[in-house]
Symmetry: C2
Subunit: 332 residues, 2 copies
């Protein structure tokens, strides 16, 4: 029963962590909720730019109400002091918090267990592991940067039922419907950067922004994959997928086209696949993917597993993540 | 409340109707259940070859128990006497049945309302329309033959997430998993005939049968789409999709490959789409469909609507039927 309650409150903290996904780099997008007597006394999430941290924001909201409360936090509270603010583990100790429930340990070597140790040393009860899988997904950008030295990469594909992204003559507006396109814009707002290849740049460049009311300012940085040529105004150019390690920000959205998508898959640099599918057949159109370097069908199995699926109008969105047989590439 | 009960019993009759789908031509695959005092007293379904009819089988099972019962039947009971047996409407009158609930009227001009009239003239209460949509789906073969002079056509596609049916070098075993393949074999057993093109014939011909324990004898007739060449032993050859009107049987399954599938779509001769999808990416493979004659993307929308979806192991099956904007071709 206590475990169930912990899991429910952690879900709240995880939802809060999503509010600034794509805008907290180099810090993780942490969520935190403070609960006393079954009621929320404070909520926080890492602010855009990385400060204040989630715990600091929640403690400020709770004030004296934090004394004796339980803090649910998606990541181990930090143990390192910085010119930009005090360590969250120190703040939690000072607040009189009675218990901390954290989803996962912070891999940053400046914290990595020391946050928990400081809390326990101060007599605070600490539980670790509640909602760990969901937390790894929610903070995949930060965790991928820590583990692999590069941003987490999402590949977006919008196809017909027969896997085409355009008619043979290039006509691609529209395959998916308004609901899918709005959802795709929301995904853009949750990424630090969008990358396209030369062909998509030539046809779609002016449109690679967030066109949702109130979210126009959230348009991510624009990145062009191109082995040759200079950077257009306001764009960053990468010569190869492997160069993504140099990008600022921990969330990269690869939007097209077929050759660019294939280049990232071939390099083992796609962590998450967003597949928007419209209930139409095109026939003889432009395939979604070029050569991804698959040598046998047997190699293709086990690389992807569906983690979410939903209807978007008459379309369907499926979200896949790396499966157990998926080759993963780090920064090179 | 009475309506709900009617709908539930009609579901039973519809389930029975599926038992001989693909084996009753030129007769419809009707299902019938007789209910008295909330209990089933007789069940019937059109037998392979078309006789006995569902009502005759159910009445034989019920015997005297039919007196005062309600008959749920997926199609209007026939009104025409035949050398092969008496008219079902006469049998129902003679049995002392009190009420008949039918899903739809029989479009066969020899019955077309006359079955219901004969029942009503005998003082039997008649309700028409319960489960009508499901009945049209369950007996689509017969109804398509009556309305369009040709079998109902199901197109099966088994693809990767990126819409490929093979690797670039032709390797296609296996994209989908064992559960999908078993389901596809069950679909074969529910069709009168399977059709493939020259390419699929060359690579897969020996395998176009039902390989499910106990259902081996249900393998459908084999049809080859080929503009030239003679019929291989045991095969029927069609020169063009439009020639399907000449086939015996009311259910045709089109299994491949990409050009054959496209030819049927181009001709407006696909009524139902079975889309088996494996959670794999192939990249640069063989596309599922050749040119289907689409001139603008806008034409593609509204042609297909999903009517069923389910997981099959790690694959997913989606079933589509014609949408409101779908061109339909009759026999030519």
């Amino acid at each position: 029963m206590l475990r169930d309650e912990d899991a429910r409150w952690m879900d709240v903290a995880l939802a809060l962590s999503g509010r600034t996904r794509g805008r907290t780099a180099p810090n993780p997008n942490v969520g935190c909720v403070l609960v006393a007597g079954g009621r929320v006394v404070g909520r926080g999430w890492t602010q855009a730019g990385g400060r204040p941290h989630a715990e600091a924001m929640a403690l400020a909201e709770a004030g004296d109400g934090a004394c004796g409360a339980t803090a649910y936090v998606t990541l181990e509270p930090c143990a390192h002091r910085s010119p930009r603010g005090p360590a969250c583990s120190d703040l939690l100790v000072a607040s009189g918090i009675a218990r901390v429930v954290a989803a996962i340990e912070d891999p940053d070597p400046r914290t990595a267990g020391q946050g928990f140790a400081r809390l326990r040393d101060a007599g605070i009860a600490v539980t670790v592991g509640t909602g760990a899988d969901a937390a790894r997904r929610a903070m995949a950008g930060f965790l991928t940067r820590q583990a692999l030295g590069r941003p987490v990469v999402t590949l977006k594909l919008a196809t017909s039922l027969d896997g085409c992204i355009a008619r043979a003559d290039g006509e691609s507006r529209w395959i998916t419907g308004a609901e899918s396109r709005a959802h795709a814009h929301l995904e853009r707002a949750r990424h630090d950067a969008i990358l396209v290849g030369r062909g998509t740049f030539a046809t779609d460049a002016p449109r690679l922004d967030v066109r949702l009311p109130g979210l126009e300012a959230r348009s991510p940085a624009r990145v062009l994959l191109s082995a040759t040529g200079s950077a257009p105004d306001g764009w960053t150019v990468l010569a190869a997928p492997e160069a993504i390690a140099t990008l600022p920000g921990d969330h990269l959205l690869v939007e097209g086209g077929a050759r660019t998508a294939a280049a990232f898959l071939r390099a083992g640099l796609v962590d998450r696949l967003l597949l928007y599918r419209a209930p139409i057949l095109i026939g003889g159109g432009v395939p979604a993917l070029g050569d991804i370097g698959l040598h046998r069908l047997a190699e293709a199995h086990g690389r992807w597993q569906m983690v979410d699926a939903r209807a978007l109008g008459s379309d369907r969105l499926e979200v896949y993540e790396r499966g157990p047989c998926s080759p993963v590439s780090s920064a090179i």
